[in-house]
């Protein structure tokens, strides 16, 4: 496996690497209380938000950066980051697509984001986040008719303060962890979704995150609430321009599912992973958590993680309501010098709660891939059921794959099962496929796609196609 063809594939450059040149409204480097106040003021937030941000900031000062995970990176100097960056707008912002900076629209075009008509064709309503401020939102009217609120977080704070006040921080409190506290203090924007009682959202809601301005920490905050009997499927996808310096991304996503509600959250993450030598790339330290608050609530996380220099995220479910269901489906791929430490937590509190975990890790090059998960069954969770499967595929002798499951059971009526395997891509399988006329690349793709099938089938159509393509591009020539 040392031919040039493979080497070429192995060195496949990041496809979406370009920097959009538009004016940025950026705060000076560094973080103190004034920066927090300024962010809040720039967004015209009500007093309760500023209070909350300040409490979070003061708490963050008392915390130390965690070191327990398997990822390694040089120390981050939080005073050399910019904490706010927004595309400059004329007057108070665009009223319609026509008013949006054409440069920006071209960027989205390059990324293939369906806006306006293209959005209608794709059946997707997009709340596009360019760095920190949402600039265009479509399909609002259609959603409004159903009473579904889907808007940038900054807008929700002003328009629906009582909902934000009620739910913000109720799943991930500002004291939760180092990165969540930092996010709570300085978060710039994100998405807000509220699905009223008994409403089924007729389309996949989606948002595209982009990290653009140099040295700008990106602190997204997303809050999705599905009221009793509501249903929503939310898609999150990301690409970012090539650059050399590491960028910090510390997002927080909170999901609240009330009785009989269902939330499906899908992610395809393809941020800049750094170059083949491990220079640059995004640090992706994310806190994602869903709370099944009512009976029969259902939260499902699906993620395809192929980007970022470092991925550190554990989308979790708190199964509080009786008969509630939590699911986690994940494909994580690390190539070159990428590191991923990802997994989930399933906390069973209610009776007859069920959870399923399917995690597929692929490590190539010098990549390091760890599954870290917790299944906790409290004494109250009579009849709880969990099945976990985590498989790792190793594609080079310098790659590493780890599995760190924690299982804690306190109820004798619970059944918890965990299975894990780690192995190399099968030589005999490769040989067989090649003997049938497939070249090695195609054979690898076929095997990897089969390996990930259980997860891909959980993705909405739009994403499933993109995910398979992403995986193929990221893995080309990685075997050997």
């Amino acid at each position: 496996m040392d031919n040039l063809e493979l080497q070429r594939h192995l060195d496949t450059e990041y496809r979406w690497g370009f920097v959009t040149d538009i004016e940025q409204d950026t705060l000076p480097m560094g973080l103190d209380e004034d920066v927090v106040r300024l962010i809040s003021a720039k967004k015209g937030e009500p007093a309760f938000m500023l209070d909350w941000r300040l409490k979070a900031y003061r708490h963050w000062l008392t915390m130390t950066e965690p070191t327990w995970s398997s990822v390694r990176y040089p120390a981050i100097d939080y005073q050399t980051l910019h904490y706010y960056s927004a595309p400059k707008t004329r007057d108070s912002g665009p009223k319609s697509l026509a008013e949006v900076d054409p440069e920006l629209l071209r960027t989205y075009e390059k990324l293939g984001i369906p806006l306006a008509e293209r959005g209608a064709l794709a059946g997707v309503a997009v709340d596009a986040v360019f760095d920190s401020v949402s600039v265009a939102t479509t399909f609002k009217d259609k959603l409004e008719q159903l009473g579904i609120l889907f808007c940038p977080f900054s807008e929700a704070v002003i328009k629906y303060p009582e909902l934000v006040q009620q739910y913000l921080g109720s799943v991930v409190p500002y004291t939760d962890n180092f990165f969540a506290s930092l996010n709570s203090a300085v978060f710039s924007d994100g998405s807000f979704v509220y699905v009223p009682k008994g409403v089924r959202c007729p389309m996949e809601l989606s948002t595209y995150f982009r990290i653009n301005a140099r040295n700008t920490g990106q602190f997204e905050r997303t809050l999705i609430i599905a009221d009793e009997g509501g249903y929503v499927s939310y898609l999150e996808g990301c690409t970012a321009p090539t650059r050399d310096e590491n960028q910090l991304h510390a997002a927080v996503v909170e999901l609240v599912a009330l009785q009989d509600a269902r939330i499906k959250y899908s992610t395809v993450q393809n941020w800049y992973p750094g170059d083949a030598e491990g220079r640059g790339g995004i640090y992706n330290f994310v806190t994602k958590r869903g709370d099944c608050r009512g009976e029969r609530a259902h939260i499902s996380w699906t993620q395809v993680e192929t980007g970022s220099a470092i991925t550190w995220k554990y989308p979790s479910c708190i199964l509080r309501g009786d008969h509630s269901v939590g699911e986690f489906y994940s494909v994580a791929l690390t190539n070159h010098h990428q590191q991923a430490d990802t997994g989930t937590k399933m906390i069973h509190i209610g009776r007859d709660t069920r959870s399923t975990i399917v995690s597929k890790g692929i490590a190539a090059g010098y990549g390091s891939n760890a599954y870290r998960g917790l299944v906790k069954v409290l004494a109250t969770a009579e009849g709880a059921r969990n099945h976990t499967q985590c498989d790792s595929l190793l594609m080079s002798p310098t790659s590493a794959a780890h599995t760190f499951p924690y299982i804690e059971v306190r109820n004798p009526g619970a059944i918890v099962e965990h299975e894990a395997t780690t192995s190399r891509i099968g030589e005999d399988q490769l040989f067989y496929l090649q003997s049938r006329g497939l070249d090695e690349e195609e054979a690898v793709n076929l095997i990897v796609n089969g390996f990930c099938k259980e997860v891909f089938k959980e993705l909405p159509m739009e994403f499933a196609v993109e995910a398979q393509k992403l995986l193929a591009v990221s893995l080309e020539g990685a075997v050997g």
Binding site: A379, P397, A400, E408, N411, T421
Partner: protein, 422 residues
Amino acid sequence: MTANTPFIEALRRIEVPGWLASERGAALDRFLATGMPSARLEDWKHTSLAALERRVWHSSTSVAGEAVCPDIASYPGHALVFQNGQLHCHGIYLANQIAGTLLDLANTQAVHQYLGQVADDTALANLNLALWQDGAHVYVPAGDHITLPIFTLFGAAEAEAMLYPRTLAVLEHGAEAILVEHFLGQTGQPYWQNAVTEIVLEDGAHLTHLKVIEEGAAATHTSLTAVRLGRDSEYRALHIGLDGALARHEIRVHMAGPGATTRIDAFDLADGHRHADLHLRINHRAPSGTSRVTYRGLAKGRGRAVFDGHVVVDRAAPKIDARQSCRGLLLSPQAEIDAMPRLEIYADDVKCGHGASIGNLDREALFYLQSRGIDLALARQLLMQGFANEALGLLDHTHLRNWLMPRLIAAMARRTLMEPTP
């Protein structure tokens, strides 16, 4: 990190025994630098030793007079008996009578080469190295096969005593032996045994190692078994944890030679208020190694069983085949089982896997047995024994089996708090 508890203060004033004084002094300094392992350490997340530090322990002064030597005749093999940390009596043990030697460790000068070299640099191993008084040295010369089991019994009858049993087993090239370590409490008072067993298996050596923990009801048992395997050697371990308020056994296996095999079977019974913790770390450092782990943990009453099975495959160790099976039987709403079957793999040409499951007795099996006229209590008993038996595959030695089974069955039948009444 080191709090100035009375325990630590007492240690600062302690004088280490004269023999191996410099090594012991250094080990004590290392322990004092780290202190007792705290619950904040990832490895100690599920087991707290805080209660140990609140007591003032005293070193055992003498072999307690009232404790009689246990019935050595009932041990089917060579036997060496330690009482309160000191050599007490022995059965058919004498260097010349068996092919190898079974010696009083404190009187063996030949151990310098190995002593303290295999055990990992953990806080509790350092404490043992600093303070151990007596122990067993099993030495089997190249090519010798000792078929009769070698027993070492560590009895404890002294309240508030802090005991440090130490064992060193060296099996030379191609040697074979069976070692049985039996920790036996003879008092209901609290005491603390902190044991270290070092095992060196040279190329092609085979050791079957049985460890039975039956400490006193209020006792704490902490121990480290550290094993170094040479080329094509084989280590087969059976851990049986039955009694003692808190037991934490760590087995650390260094697969240093290519083609080595490790098989560890374990059964832990956590009933009453018992806390049973087994930590395994199998480090594959050479190619073509095989490891197999079977763990069965049973928790009832207010017991808690903790299992951490950590397999590490180094980059320099391709062609590794590592499997782990972990099952927990949780029988009461106040009991808890925690399992962490971990894989840490830095090589690609490997086959590693683990399976873990935790649940209650199979209702259908219970129903089936009852439909055959067996009452519920007995049916439960039978299924529990069957569960434990899954971990006893290694016990093919008839005499050993006959020696162990009554102990196991008696412990299983023990009535405990909160046992659900059918």
